[in-house]
Assembly symmetry: C2
């Protein structure tokens, strides 16, 4: 007999996280976690509040709460070049966007929004006036010159721009910095990791194996997604190919670069010089 | 491309429903449903409100809303004799309980509570005064002669009665009627079943296969549960052996008998003469 409880783990039930879930749903790994499916903002909030033990957190929120959290190297959501679903959508081409454009933030992803701001302000020298709108293109562009759009709606616009100009913000980030863009990381609360290192390791390995299996069975992942999602198989295959689900040294360099640039903005804490801090020693937790 | 959405399916994340989840977590079936895990009362409410398409519903709530729902023959939660976790717990043996006892309803299961009332009032001729208390034994018996207790707390008391008298209400029901007791059924909303019969059939088969697999791999199910639950493997094996997860003709006879007796109580509608109504023709949906 025991008094253990299953770790409370967050999962983003969006298309881009299907490869993370793929193996979990086939190995029985879900039997050993208390899985909470919710939108990314809600999961970030719950992890910070201590209502989850392990889960995804958008990079900007991780930076704000890094003292309470330890990173887990898999999974993550990143892209080394185009990601297809984090876009600046505009009526005019980039060089014809006004110097002080009206920009709609049709996204609840603080990281995607901040990336859009960085590029517009620091790379392209604009001085935008921002408004927050509903996360669909029509709402976003009704009274704006451009919109930051993320997720399935952004992927739709990428495939069917209908005369709009679509700037892939992860591709722009790579063009600007030479580095991958990390949108979300998975983290464990420091207090939980200290109390239950074995359980955290089990969850990490289950997630890593799940992503690995989705890579090996990518045709099945695509066929499964095509059954439910409004995209043809070729578009889904391209999307899953672009998405990256782990943190290499290059991804960490991209994360640090983003943190450094982000810290110039209000309400974003700088990453510690030796950050990010991982669960366990890198050598142990990040073994191949 | 398509505009399908995954069926919204409810799951009770309690120990007694682990065998229902077992196979779902190993076959990839979870990839084709939008699974909502919640306590049983919450799932009943959501199914009735139309916030779920398919899910478990406590028998009493099913009887109240049978016009909007179609039964699915698997899974169910039933017992043909002792169930171990739906108990009347008392300080004195049954025959020493006062004629007008104070009875605590330490349960949010309307079916378990009604079963307890039926037995106390109709079988044992008591005229109880009921109070609702927190679902733990100490709270329940503080100011009462007996308590209706269900779930893991009731199973704990069964194994460690600490001087209390424990009456297994499903065993009492069988002794009284000769029939199994059905505690919960799985149902689909009639409007959803008419619009998406193929999806309902897929979900039904996935659940049926899941329960079947848990029977074949019962030693693994017990070992998995023993990792997290405060019961030794032998107690878990006995519990899973007692629980029944499908509706045979005998179970339907038990369900009808309960409905008939329940309809004498306030706020419970009688079952239609030809009820319960199943999803699809019995011959199709209930093939072996």
């Amino acid at each position: 007999m025991n008094i253990a409880r299953r770790p409370r783990v967050g999962h983003i039930a969006f298309l881009n996280c299907l490869p993370i879930y793929w193996g979990l749903a086939r190995t029985g790994a879900l039997l050993d976690v208390d899985l909470h499916r919710a939108p990314p903002d809600e999961l970030s909030r719950r992890l910070v509040a201590g209502d989850l033990d392990i889960g995804p957190i958008t990079l900007v929120e991780y930076l704000r709460h890094a003292d309470d959290l330890l990173l887990i190297p898999d999974p993550a959501v990143a892209a080394d070049g185009p990601v297809l679903s984090v876009n600046l959508v505009s009526k005019a081409p980039l060089d014809a966007i006004p110097a002080e454009p009206r920009v709609a933030l049709a996204s609840t992803s603080r990281t995607g929004v901040l990336l859009g701001r960085m590029l517009l302000e620091d790379r392209y020298g604009r001085k935008p006036a921002y408004t927050v709108t509903a996360p669909d293109l029509d709402s976003a562009l009704r009274d704006a010159d451009a919109a930051v759009l993320i997720g399935d709606e952004a992927l739709q616009v990428f495939h069917d721009p209908a005369g709009h100009h679509v700037l892939d913000l992860a591709a722009e980030w790579k063009d600007w910095t030479g580095l991958p863009m990390v949108f979300a990381v998975w983290a464990v609360r420091r207090d939980y990791a200290e109390a239950h290192p074995g359980l955290v390791k089990d969850v990490h390995l289950a997630f890593r194996d799940s992503v690995q299996r989705s890579r090996e069975e990518i045709d099945e992942v695509v066929a499964s997604a095509a059954r439910w999602e409004p995209f043809p198989p070729a578009a889904l295959a391209e999307y899953f190919e672009r998405l990256q689900f782990g943190l290499s040294e290059r991804h960490l360099a991209g994360l640090r670069e983003f943190a450094s640039r982000a810290s110039r903005y209000a309400d974003i804490d700088p990453l510690r010089a030796d950050g990010p801090e991982f669960f366990a020693a890198l050598g142990e937790a990040r073994e191949p």
